[in-house]
Amino acid sequence: MAKRIIVDPVTRIEGHLRIDVEVENGQVSKAWSSGQMWRGIENILKDRDPRDAWAFTQRICGVCTTVHALASVRAVENALDLEVPLNAQYIRNIMVSAHALHDHIVHFYHLSALDWVDIVSALEADPKEASKLAESLSSWKLNSVHELTAVQNKLKSFVASGQLGIFANGYWGHKAMKLPPEVNLIAAAHYLQALEIQREANRIVTIMGGKSPHVQNLTVGGVTNSINLDSQAVMNMERLMFIKTLIEKMEDFVKNAYMVDVSIIGAFYLDWAGYGKGVTDYLSVPEMPLDTKGTEFALKGGYIAGGDLSTFKPITGFNDKYFIDGVKESSKHSWYHGEEALHPWDGETEPNYDDFNDEGQYSWIKSPTFNGKPAQVGPLANVLCLAAQGHESTLQHLNFVMDTVSAVSGTKIGVSALHSTIGRHAARAVRSGVLLDEMNKQWDLLVANIGSGDTDTFNQPVFPKGEIRGVGFHEAPRGVLSHWVVINDGKIKNYQAVVPSTWNAGPRNQDDVPGPYEASLMGNPIADPERPLEVLRTVHSFDPCIACAIHLMDTEHQEIVKVKAL
């Protein structure tokens, strides 16, 4: 008999997500992804000064603050055709990369690793064996017997005290947990060390942004950081050197711990390279502008059809017609009036709430499409698009991860393994390595540019009479983010944010084709319907910025089990 599992919201902070799956013969046979809350944030922006929009948009989400601020100023700059000084581009690039690294590290270790790692099993590990294994794979300084023994003792005291804290809700002893105790111990140690490293990442955001958690330094036309290498009060050499040391610390951790951990875990869960593929049309946008006009980028975006890298088509800049004309949103299965897929500049947000209708409307999220089809966005899309272009640092990190997985598992794996639940985790680690390489380059560019005597950080925006339109996009931690603004006589007339989780979590579209979450859940095994860990594994691999509660329902939709999920 088919059983229905519902992943339901517990928090309103980042927007509710509910996932329904039907399970037949131990596998997911149907899936629905539903946004459970409508806020109409876009409507708050109408008639406001476009220069103020970013300060509101960075409050849309509790996790993705900086990215909405950046997309917003870029949208207004794009509408005005306003150039952004080089220093401002570099500062933005470094700041937003630090934000992304913070996000990726926290996501892997603190929000999703416990889907794969059994903390309780780590208590049975032999720290000597664990250390030997870890040191055979990396030069990370905190893999010693001494360190791992200390971590194990710490975990023992937590378990003994009955106060597991953040570990309290794990699926300990679940049938789908497969790591040996030693690997669980290594991962637990790095989990704790990652708590420190994420602070370093956040420090960069705070220094450049002037304030955390909400940055203050963005402005339409540039940044408000004053640059003077010799002044104590502003962006000076001492601060820049400090930022450099923070980048180096993160680099050490990401390259010697994060990428290695993902590879080891991937090797033990190679079966998960066979689940979670879903939508294999991938979309990514260019990031890290290198010129004032936004035509040259360190990381170029593009589109890949059907998972075939040879189909790659580039998206080259902030005025790329292929991207701008390709995006539409359908609301056939969403609780809004109107069925026709609309371009975001013409987008409407008129609510029309009904019940959850499996075949009809069931979500507050619209279904974005790229040239009429759903697309998967996120680090996997980003990494595949960069790999398709032969981007050197991407290929280097990607090969490292694939070689390590192959060595540990004894099975040679290729790029095809990336189209999967575990592949999304691998791609996120690879992207972290790429971001660090690029951050170092951006730091060099910033210092060299300031050294050449350029201290400009801001160009004054001037709003014309009449109507103008702009789009600002950003390759955010969860993928393609775009803000679309229509400005009339210097006031906002329409504003639409098409966010990464909309691309991935969108419901069936105008042609009833399922979105990436929905498609990726199909065929996932469910070992224990009382503890549907596998659903979480696949949904978490997308890095949804929401927590979920799981309700297990029978086909009559009567709740029979309620499991809290992290």
Binding site: V10, T11, R12, I13, E14, R39, G40, I41, N43, I44, F56, R59, I60, C61, G62, V63, T65, H102, V106, H110, K154, F158, Q163, G165, I166, F167, A168, L192, L195, Q198, R199, N202, R203, V205, T206, S212, P213, H214, A547
Partner: protein
């Protein structure tokens, strides 16, 4: 003594933003001695670890749903505060409860907590507090100032701008 005054909430959802609005008011009206940090935490989670870890005393201001009437002000102290976030009455349970969990592991849990909460009148979309909530913001501001002074911190009122 290191004291953190942390207002949390989403300013795009009317009264949900009461914590942040109270912090804005505090910063506008007062100067604080160097041992006090007054922070707008928004709806952030892990980014706040650096700010909150190892503080002697954390004063939280937040919208809470206790089942009591709208406008009810709730004051909780010390271990009642983590308990509140564990039982998920506050809309910001995710970020703050994660932080508390993390600090339990890193051994950086602040020594003392005070929470000034208020039950919202509305959480509709909108950037202004409801008119019913406005006078309660002033009460919360006073509560925080009184608490800071009781802790021995110096709070100086800014000169009124005519």
């Amino acid at each position: 003594m290191s004291v953190l005054v942390l207002g949390v909430g989403n300013i795009l959802l009317t009264d949900e933003g009461i914590g942040v609005r109270t912090v804005e008011s505090l910063l506008e009206k007062y100067q604080f001695s160097d041992d006090v940090e007054v922070v707008d935490g928004g709806t952030a989670g892990m980014e706040l670890l650096e700010i909150i870890a190892n503080k002697e005393h954390v004063i939280l201001i937040d919208a809470v749903n206790t089942g009591a009437e709208s406008g009810t002000i709730v004051t909780l102290v010390d271990e009642e505060v983590p308990a509140l976030f564990r039982s998920r009455i506050s809309p910001h349970q995710l970020g703050i409860s994660d932080l508390l969990g993390v600090m339990a592991i890193t051994g950086e849990t602040p020594k003392h907590f005070t929470l000034f909460g208020v039950v919202p009148f509305s959480m509709a979309t909108g950037v202004e507090l409801t008119t019913e909530m406005l006078p309660l913001k002033d009460i919360l501001v006073n509560n925080v100032v009184t608490k800071l002074e009781a802790l021995g911190c110096v709070v100086t009122e800014n000169k009124q701008v005519a």
